[in-house]
C-alpha cells in the first residue's frame, strides 16, 4: 500500500531560522496521526508547509501526497488534490457570506477536478445536515465569514468546511484551542464521522484532551523541530503525565541547525 502522505528528511526555515529539521512522517490511508508538541516546537509550521503557505522555505527534503510532489503545487491545487487544513486562526472576510464562500470553495475544487458545479439545492441540503451535526446554527451560515464569530464558532465552522469539502487528508491545527468541553465533543464527533479507509487525518495539538475524542492510531512527539518519539495512543497519556520536559534535547545535541 502506498502512503497517503510521506514526508522525508524535511527541513523548513522561516526568515532564515530553521524551524523543522530531519522531519519524517508517513501517514497511510485510513489512519489518524497526532502530532503533539509544546509551544514553538514547529507544529503550526508543519501545518502551513503542508497547505503551501508563503514564507515557509523548504530547504531540504520531500513531501509526497497521494504519489504527487506536494511542494510543486499551489495552495489551491493542494486543496483540489484533497488536502484540507483546519486553521488555528480562521480569517475574517467581511461582506462575504459564510455559505457563499463555502459554495465558491466547493465549486472551485470541483472545477479543478473537472466536475460540474454542485446545484444550489444539493448544496443547501448537504450544508444544513452537516451544519446541524457540528452545531453551526443557520444564522451563522448567512453571516460574513468568521466576522464577529466567537472562537468556538470559528472552530466549528472550520469543521463544517471540512465535512463539506471531504478531503483525503485533513490537517487539524490546534482545533481544540478555545473550545469548551461540549464544543470539543461535537467537533470531535464531526471529525470522527469523516474517518474512513480512504481518508487520513493529522491532528496537531498541544494537549492530550482532544485525543480522548479523536483517538489516534499513532502519536508523534514534536520538540524543537524534530520528532523525538513515536508510539501508539498511549504515548499521549504518557505525555500528559510527564510533560514535554523529558523529550527536550540534551545539551550535547543541538536541537536545530539555526546558528
Amino acid at each position: 500500500m502506498t502512503a497517503l502522505l510521506e514526508i522525508r528528511d524535511l527541513a523548513v526555515s522561516v526568515d532564515g531560522k530553521t524551524i523543522l529539521d530531519e522531519f519524517e512522517l508517513v501517514v497511510g490511508a485510513g489512519e489518524v496521526h497526532a502530532v503533539m508538541g509544546p509551544n514553538g516546537s514547529g507544529k503550526s509550521t508543519l501545518a502551513y508547509v503542508l497547505a503551501g503557505r508563503e514564507g515557509y522555505q523548504v530547504t531540504r527534503g520531500t513531501i509526497r501526497f497521494l504519489g504527487r510532489d506536494l511542494l510543486t503545487l499551489e495552495p489551491e491545487e493542494r486543496a483540489a488534490a484533497g488536502l484540507f487544513l483546519a486553521m488555528q486562526y480562521p480569517v475574517e472576510i467581511p461582506g462575504v457570506a459564510n455559505m457563499y464562500f463555502l459554495r465558491q470553495a466547493m465549486n472551485a475544487i470541483r472545477k479543478a477536478r473537472g466536475e460540474p458545479d454542485i446545484s444550489a439545492a444539493d448544496f443547501m441540503k448537504r450544508l444544513r445536515a452537516q451544519a446541524e451535526l457540528v452545531g453551526v446554527p443557520p444564522e451563522l451560515l448567512k453571516r460574513d465569514l468568521n466576522a464577529g464569530f466567537s472562537g468556538g464558532e470559528k472552530k466549528r465552522n472550520e469543521i463544517l468546511q471540512l465535512l463539506m469539502l471531504e478531503p483525503r487528508l485533513a490537517v487539524l491545527d490546534e482545533t481544540d484551542s478555545g473550545l469548551d468541553i461540549d464544543a470539543l465533543r461535537t467537533v470531535a464527533e464531526g471529525v470522527n464521522r469523516l474517518r474512513s479507509p480512504e481518508r487520513a487525518m493529522l491532528v496537531i495539538t498541544h494537549y492530550q484532551r482532544l485525543l480522548d475524542y479523536i483517538v489516534p492510531d499513532r502519536v508523534h512527539v514534536l520538540v524543537d523541530g524534530r520528532i523525538r518519539r513515536s508510539g501508539g495512543k498511549e504515548l499521549a497519556l504518557e505525555l500528559e503525565a510527564e510533560g514535554y520536559a523529558a523529550f527536550q534535547p540534551k545539551p550535547a545535541e543541538p536541537a536545530t541547525a539555526a546558528a
Binding site: 514564507g55 461582506g95 464562500f101 466547493m106 475544487i109
Partner: protein, 481 residues
C-alpha cells in the same frame, strides 16, 4: 520567496477587454471649436433657435472660464482645438426599427455583451444605444409609450417634447455651472431623455449604453431625467471605449429632477478605457451629475461602480430642496495601474427633515491614486437634517494611494452629521485562507474586494449586479496561474 504582495502586484497587468475599434463609416466634424462648429452641430440636429442660442450662450461663458485645477489628479493640458466635437455613424436617417441598424454597430454591441434585441439577455430592460455622439437605437419604446413614459435620445426629445426639454434643460446644472458643464452645454450631441408621468412606476429598468468609437473625438452627452409627482424610475448607464494611445475627453452632464413623492434611482457602471499599464491613453471622464429633489418626500439615489477611465473626476450630487427628501450616494471606485480618481458627492440640505446617506468604497491597486471628496452642506432652512457618511478605502499592494477629503458645513443646530472612514489592505492571511480552500488567487482577490463593496453592489439593480461583480474581478485580474 515571493510574498503575496508581489503576486498581487501582478494584478496590475490586466488588459482591457473592450478595446477594439468598429470599422464603420463615420461623419466626423473637423477638429476645433468656434461658434460655427456649434451652429453646425445645432443645424445637423435641426434644432430650434432657442436651443442654438442656449448653446452659444454656454460657449461664450465657457470662453471666460478657466479649467479647474484644485482636484487631486494630474494630466497634461488639453488642447480643445485638437478635438472633434461631432462624430456620427453614417446612416441616411435614424433607423425606424431595430432591424435597420447598421450590422457593424449591431456587432459592436453584441461583442460588448449587450445585444440590441428586445428579448433574451436584457429582457425587461429598455436600452438606448449611444454610439460616439449619437443615439442609434432605443428598445421597448412602444411598451413604454403605453404608460406615457418617454424614453428616447435627447435629440428626439428636442423635436418631440420641446416644452419639457426647454423647461428642464439646464435647470439643475446651468450652462455656466463649471468649465466642463459649460463646454458640454455648448457642444452636446446626444444623450438620453426620460420623462415619467405622474403616478407611474416605470415597469422596467431604463438603460443607456455609451460607446466611444471614433478617434480624436470627445463624447459630450447630455442626459435629462424627469420623474413627475409620485413616479418611480430606475436608470442605468454603461460605458466602454476602444484602446488608444491618446487620451480622449468625456465631459457629460446628467440632470435629474424628482418632483413630489417621486423617486429616481440612477446607476452607473463605468468602464471607459483606463489607459495601458504605463499610463498611456485612456479616457478623461470629467462629468457633472446632479439631481434635484424638488418635491416633498422625493428621493434620488446614485449608485456608481467606476472601474475605467484614466482619470475619473465627478461628484454626483443631490440638492435636497423638498421637505423630507432623501439623497443617497453609493460608490465603488477601483483604480489600477496609473489610473486616478477624484470622486465623491455633494449633498445640499435645504428642505426640512432632509436626509442623506453616503457610502463610498475606494479600491486602489498598482500605482493608482484614489480620492474621495465629499461635501455635506446643511443650510439654515434645513431643520432636522440628517447625514451619514461612510468612506472605506482598500489598498492592494504598496505603491497606490487613497485619500479622503470630507467637507461638512452645517448652518442649522438641529442637524446631525456623521462621518466614518476606514482604510484597510487585502491581507496575505485572507488570500491564503481562500486559496487553501481551493479558490485561485485571482478569484480570492475578487472575492475579498466584492465583500468589501457589498453594501454598494446590493444597491445595483439585480441584472447589473452580476455584471458589475464580474467587472470588478476583471479590473483587478492578473496573469497569475
Amino acid at each position: 520567496m515571493a510574498t503575496a504582495l508581489d503576486t498581487v502586484r501582478e494584478y496590475t497587468g490586466h488588459e482591457y477587454k473592450y478595446g477594439w475599434v468598429t470599422d464603420i463609416e463615420s461623419e466626423v466634424a473637423p477638429k476645433g471649436l468656434d461658434e460655427a462648429t456649434i451652429r453646425m452641430i445645432s443645424a445637423k440636429k435641426d434644432e430650434p433657435a432657442w436651443l442654438t442660442d442656449w448653446r452659444l450662450e454656454a460657449y461664450r461663458r465657457w470662453l471666460t472660464m478657466e479649467e479647474p485645477r484644485w482636484q487631486k489628479v494630474t494630466y497634461p493640458p488639453i488642447d480643445y482645438q485638437a478635438i472633434s466635437y461631432y462624430a456620427a455613424p453614417k446612416q441616411k436617417e435614424r433607423p425606424k426599427s431595430l432591424d435597420e441598424i447598421d450590422p457593424e454597430i449591431r456587432k459592436t454591441y453584441d461583442k460588448l455583451g449587450i445585444p440590441i434585441r428586445e428579448q433574451e439577455v436584457l429582457a425587461g430592460v429598455a436600452v438606448d444605444y449611444v454610439f460616439d455622439s449619437v443615439s442609434v437605437a432605443t428598445t421597448f419604446k412602444n411598451k413604454l409609450k403605453e404608460l406615457g413614459v418617454v424614453f428616447c435620445s435627447i435629440s428626439e426629445a428636442v423635436q418631440e417634447h420641446p416644452e419639457l426639454v426647454r423647461r428642464y434643460l439646464g435647470s439643475v446644472v446651468p450652462q455656466g455651472d463649471n468649465f466642463f458643464a459649460a463646454l458640454n452645454s455648448a457642444v452636446f450631441t446626444d444623450g438620453s431623455f426620460v420623462y415619467v408621468p405622474k403616478g407611474v412606476r416605470c415597469p422596467m429598468e431604463l438603460s443607456t449604453y455609451f460607446r466611444i468609437n471614433a478617434a480624436e473625438t470627445g463624447q459630450f452627452e447630455r442626459t435629462l431625467i424627469i420623474a413627475d409627482s409620485g413616479s418611480y424610475v430606475s436608470y442605468l448607464e454603461g460605458c466602454t471605449a476602444p484602446q488608444r494611445d491618446e487620451n480622449q475627453l468625456h465631459a457629460a452632464v446628467v440632470e435629474l429632477i424628482a418632483l413630489d413623492d417621486a423617486e429616481i434611482k440612477y446607476s452607473t457602471v463605468q468602464n471607459w478605457y483606463p489607459g495601458d499599464a504605463e499610463g498611456r491613453g485612456g479616457i478623461y471622464n470629467f462629468v457633472t451629475k446632479r439631481g434635484a429633489c424638488r418635491g416633498r418626500n422625493s428621493k434620488i439615489s446614485w449608485t456608481q461602480v467606476e472601474t475605467g477611465s484614466a482619470i475619473t473626476w465627478k461628484y454626483p450630487s443631490c440638492i435636497l430642496q423638498g421637505d423630507n427628501s432623501v439623497g443617497e450616494f453609493y460608490s465603488v471606485a477601483v483604480t489600477n495601474n496609473h489610473q486616478q480618481a477624484d470622486t465623491g458627492t455633494k449633498m445640499i440640505h435645504i428642505g426640512k427633515n432632509t436626509r442623506s446617506r453616503i457610502v463610498a468604497k475606494g479600491i486602489s491597486a498598482g500605482r493608482s491614486d484614489s480620492t474621495y471628496r465629499g461635501l455635506v452642506r446643511v443650510l439654515k432652512s434645513a431643520e432636522g437634517a440628517r447625514n451619514h457618511t461612510q468612506c472605506d478605502s482598500m489598498l492592494i499592494g504598496d505603491r497606490c494611494g487613497a485619500h479622503t477629503v470630507p467637507y461638512i458645513e452645517v448652518r442649522n443646530p438641529t442637524a446631525k452629521c456623521e462621518h466614518e472612514a476606514t482604510t484597510s489592505k487585502i491581507s496575505d492571511d485572507q488570500l491564503f485562507y481562500c486559496r487553501s480552500r481551493g479558490i485561485s488567487e485571482e478569484d480570492a482577490v475578487a472575492l475579498v474586494v466584492n465583500g468589501f463593496c457589498r453594501e454598494v453592489m446590493d444597491e445595483l439593480p439585480m441584472e447589473f449586479a452580476v455584471e458589475a461583480r464580474k467587472l470588478l474581478a476583471i479590473s483587478l485580474e492578473g496573469s497569475v496561474g
